[in-house]
């Protein structure tokens, strides 16, 4: 059974059709990318999956459960963790406090108003493990707002990992990074995906990044899916080439 399944998912803003009857799925252990030119509806689709906006039609299923009407925080509690297109952190907290707060969200006693030493200890243990996996241990005590752009991006991934997600959702993971920073971040992410059985869905417009990270690709054009499959097959697809890749490949 797919971990994430979209069935005829549609989003209309007034008269504009942002997402048009999208049906696709993400199998457990798969790293899938959604690509498409600007305005293809990638971000809208991402919002529908994470629960930031509500679908006009269609369904989102997570592990067989209908989550179409569930608010964002509820979906996260089921095991969907996300990163943002524009890095979202707690800038005045240290990197360690950032990952710790992220891990705490998975604790049954996360809301405890008194005491809670054991909650903190467990959250920090998971948070530190996530920092280490992304090679951020050496900056753990620095305020997140003072880290380099590249490290901030990775810290956001670390926060998601600290939640031990069943599905990792990434919105343009290299957006806003320099060429050099992008290369470094992609190296770290590729290593991470290779060494784990994480299920990942990422939205990205940078082709090089997509072809290095993703094992499966879904192509979006004007809100609708026009191709779906292995990177090689997608590259070869004539519709995709005319619609999107142009002279790129």
């Amino acid at each position: 059974m797919p971990l994430l399944e979209l069935r005829g998912l549609t989003k209309r803003y007034g008269g504009i059709l942002a997402v048009d009857q999208v049906t696709m799925s993400v199998e457990p252990g798969e790293v899938r990318a959604v690509i498409g030119p600007n305005g293809a509806g990638k971000t809208s689709l991402f919002h529908l999956i994470t629960g930031v906006v509500k679908a006009t039609e269609g369904d989102v299923l997570f592990d067989g459960q209908r989550v179409t009407a569930m608010p964002a925080f509820g979906r996260c509690q089921l095991g969907m963790s996300r990163t943002f297109q524009i890095t979202a952190l707690f800038p005045e907290m240290s990197a360690r406090e950032n990952t710790s707060l992220a891990a705490q969200a998975r604790d049954k006693q996360r809301w405890r108003p008194l005491g809670g030493g054991s909650v903190f200890a467990e959250a920090q243990r998971r948070g530190d493990a996530a920092l280490e996996r992304l090679g951020l241990t050496h900056v753990a005590d620095r305020p997140a707002g003072l880290l380099s752009h590249g490290d901030q991006r990775l810290l956001e991934v670390a926060m998601a990992l600290a939640q031990q997600p069943r599905l990792l959702l990434m919105d343009e993971p290299t957006q806003g990074l320099s060429v050099e920073e992008t290369a470094q971040a992609v190296d770290v992410l590729a290593g991470l995906f290779a060494s784990s059985d994480l299920t990942v869905l990422l939205v990205e417009h940078d082709m090089e990044v997509v072809f290095r990270l993703a094992r499966k690709i879904t192509v979006l054009h004007r809100g609708a899916v026009i191709a779906d499959g292995d990177p090689e097959a997608v590259k070869a697809d004539a519709t995709v080439q005319s619609a999107y890749l142009g002279g790129y490949v």
């Binding site: 994470t50 925080f73 800038p91 006693q109 809301w111 405890r112 926060m159």
Partner: protein
Amino acid sequence: MRMTIAVAVLLALLPLGLPPYAMTLLTEALIMALFAMSLDLMVGYARLISFGHAAAYGLGAYTCGNILLHTDIPLPFAVLMAGVFSGVVAIGVAWVCTLATGVSFSMLTLAFGQLLYAVAFKWTSVTGASDGLAGIPRTKGPFGTAFFGTKTGFYYLTMACLFGSFLFARAVVRSPFGAVLRGIRENEAKTLSLGYNTRLYKIAVVAMSYMLGGLAGALYAPFAGFANTELLFWLLSGQVLIMVIVGGTGTLVGPILGAVFFLLVQQQLSTYTDSWALVFGAIFILFVLFVPDGIMGLARRRRAH
């Protein structure tokens, strides 16, 4: 913790050496300090700026006043009951106010405060309308003791409420719950996306804040012997917000200092002029402009040097 105990011991010893009028002033200062500290829970830790915190104070005062006027419930219990009642009402208020965020949230708190103020003028049987509740007694008990009704006894009761509340508030802000509040303060959208139902956390902290603010108001009613609509007026909400900002938000101790500072300033100024709102406003603007982290921030910077 050592500091807290030292201050507690010092305050506990004060009644031995202070003249009665100073005791009265000090008791009032501690009540105000509790009120300011309660607001800091919202403002300082979750960046929920309230322009209507007098609602908590007035609710506590009128509730406690009615309990004392109409029942024999011992004074300390009446005070606690009024505080809890204020906190329970706050759940409804917060449910409404958290529909909005940022400035709209602030305006909703003000609107609710003014609504309560208007209600207090009409609901004569409970509030005494514009006359207010007069002759609020200090009931006996528990166990028939009249101690809490005496000047010194009431001072100790106030002190116990302040320290109990302080320890409670400090435990809350250092708990997992408090960590989530800090997350909300720094980036609410991110906190939500991590899987926290941020609105529930905000409602909870507003309820706690109102409970402690209500406790302060509940102490004021038997302290002054009356409760009137002034206790619900927006100017009081403004004054307490100023105390919190000037003292230093997100510190709990700062607002306590801010309240004591302003009460002393007011005491000194009132011999020269009755227009201290002018001075209040000016000090406040200067602090926001030049010392946004308040007295506590000044102290921290001095220590860092």
